[in-house]
């Protein structure tokens, strides 16, 4: 089997369309996960035991069951409860819900790295808990964990291929379709590999740059005394 460049060129636009869907699903899913994870992390540190319990149960549930099953559940069971969403929205929701559990753990690591004295001085200054989180704790919790969010982003990008199983025409789905209708697999899957790799590398680069920038901001505010 030789690589047919003409055929590759012919299918490229279809693959790019698929890649666009994959990209959108990842970006939206990660946005959901960053918000959901933050809420979960705060809930898990609540004074109220029931809230803590719910937060912990959520994280355990979503980490200990396969994403694939979660996606199927959302896609096939939600409509029975009268909730019908487009497949792509269901997929994004699934990715967001699942990755919220992981980002919550990352936020927790960041939050726990903030010294206890910062919480105490917030109390002494009579700050509300909202202000304490927003102005004191979170700005210090983010920077050390930006690289971990990056790993999650790449992980989600790869996991988003599972959306093909709930009829979303993302990159893997369209590639596979081309294969099964033309019986040519070499070109579509080679192109798939190249697209996935370049998007992953691009994502890693963005995260790296961001981490460095955050670290830089950190070091200008944290130079030793003179």
């Amino acid at each position: 089997m030789t690589f047919d460049f003409g055929f590759a060129q012919q299918i490229l636009p279809t693959l790019v369309d698929g890649a666009r869907i994959t990209f959108i699903a990842t970006v939206c899913g990660m946005t959901l996960a960053l918000m959901g994870g933050l809420i979960l992390a705060v809930v898990r540190m609540s004074q109220v035991r029931v809230l803590r319990w719910i937060g912990n149960a959520y994280v355990e549930f979503f980490r200990d069951t396969p994403l694939l099953i979660q996606l199927f559940f959302l896609f096939y069971v939600l409509p029975f409860w009268g909730i019908t969403l487009p497949a792509i929205a269901t997929g994004i929701l699934g990715l967001g819900l699942n990755y919220s559990a992981y980002t919550a753990e990352i936020y927790r690591a960041g939050i726990e790295s903030v010294p206890r004295g910062q919480w105490e001085v917030a109390t002494a200054l009579n700050l509300s808990s909202r202000t304490t989180w927003r102005r004191v704790v979170l700005p210090q919790a983010y920077p050390p964990v930006v690289p971990m969010f990056g790993n999650n982003l790449i992980g989600m990008f790869k996991d988003s291929m599972l959306l093909s199983t709930i009829t979303v025409l993302e990159l893997f789905a369209v590639t596979n379709d081309i294969g099964s209708t033309t019986y040519r697999y070499l070109e579509p899957f080679t192109l798939l590999g190249i697209i996935v790799l370049s998007l992953s590398l691009g994502g890693a680069w963005v995260v790296n740059t961001l981490s460095k920038r955050v670290a830089q901001a950190e070091s200008t505010s944290r130079q030793p005394g003179h």
């Binding site: 105490e120 109390t123 002494a124 200054l125 700050l127 509300s128 202000t131 102005r135 130079q223 005394g225």
Partner: protein, 254 residues
Amino acid sequence: MTLSMRAVSKSYGPLEVLRSIDLTVPLGQKLAIIGPSGSGKTTLLRLVMTLEKPDSGTIEVDGELLGARRVGDKLVPDDPKHLRSVRGKIGMVFQDFNLFPRMTALQNIMLAPIEVLGMTRAAAEARARELLGVVGLSEKTDEYPRKLSGGQQQRVAIARALAMQPEIMLFDEITSALDPELIGEVLRVVRKIARETSMTMLIVTHEMNFAKDISDRVIFMDGGRIVEDTGPETMFTNPTNERTRNFLRAVLDR
């Protein structure tokens, strides 16, 4: 602002840190608290700041219960809103400064007045600059904490606490984390504040000369109890209790 503690006890596991403390600090009094490590001095301040809860007993600020409220004969935890209204009268300076690392000196001081007192940005900034002047750091307004020496950081922390206009101010071993040559500048600032304001002050310190000349009253604590409670002259020249004498002999004869 009168502060009164009645039968306040606190344990960490089997360790009794405070044993039924009764203490009344009248308005404007400068109270120095001395004693060996582990005697309960810091815990006493932390209870007043509501960083810890007493196991039993009550703390009142001007007749209002702190961190608790009465339901029938029982004490239950206070609701957050009322707790904050009482706590707003109290300020604290910590041993480790605890400045916000990602804010400049000025921003450190401005945060709480804007967020808690509802001051405008301009008013908060004007006040912050004035306070940096009071602590002698007018040139350091835009520096981040990491660029300041320990003594400078602690002076910013003092200004930050003052910005909230507390009526009771707690100083918890504020020079213990400092290099010896930086202690003087911090103590000078506190002396000045003590002279020029009517704030009630509770000062936990290991600096005996400082304790002596800043205070109207000194208590010596040991083993979770107030062992001696007297004026600074008597405390440092003629203490009555055996344990006080031993402690002072040990720390003054270094």
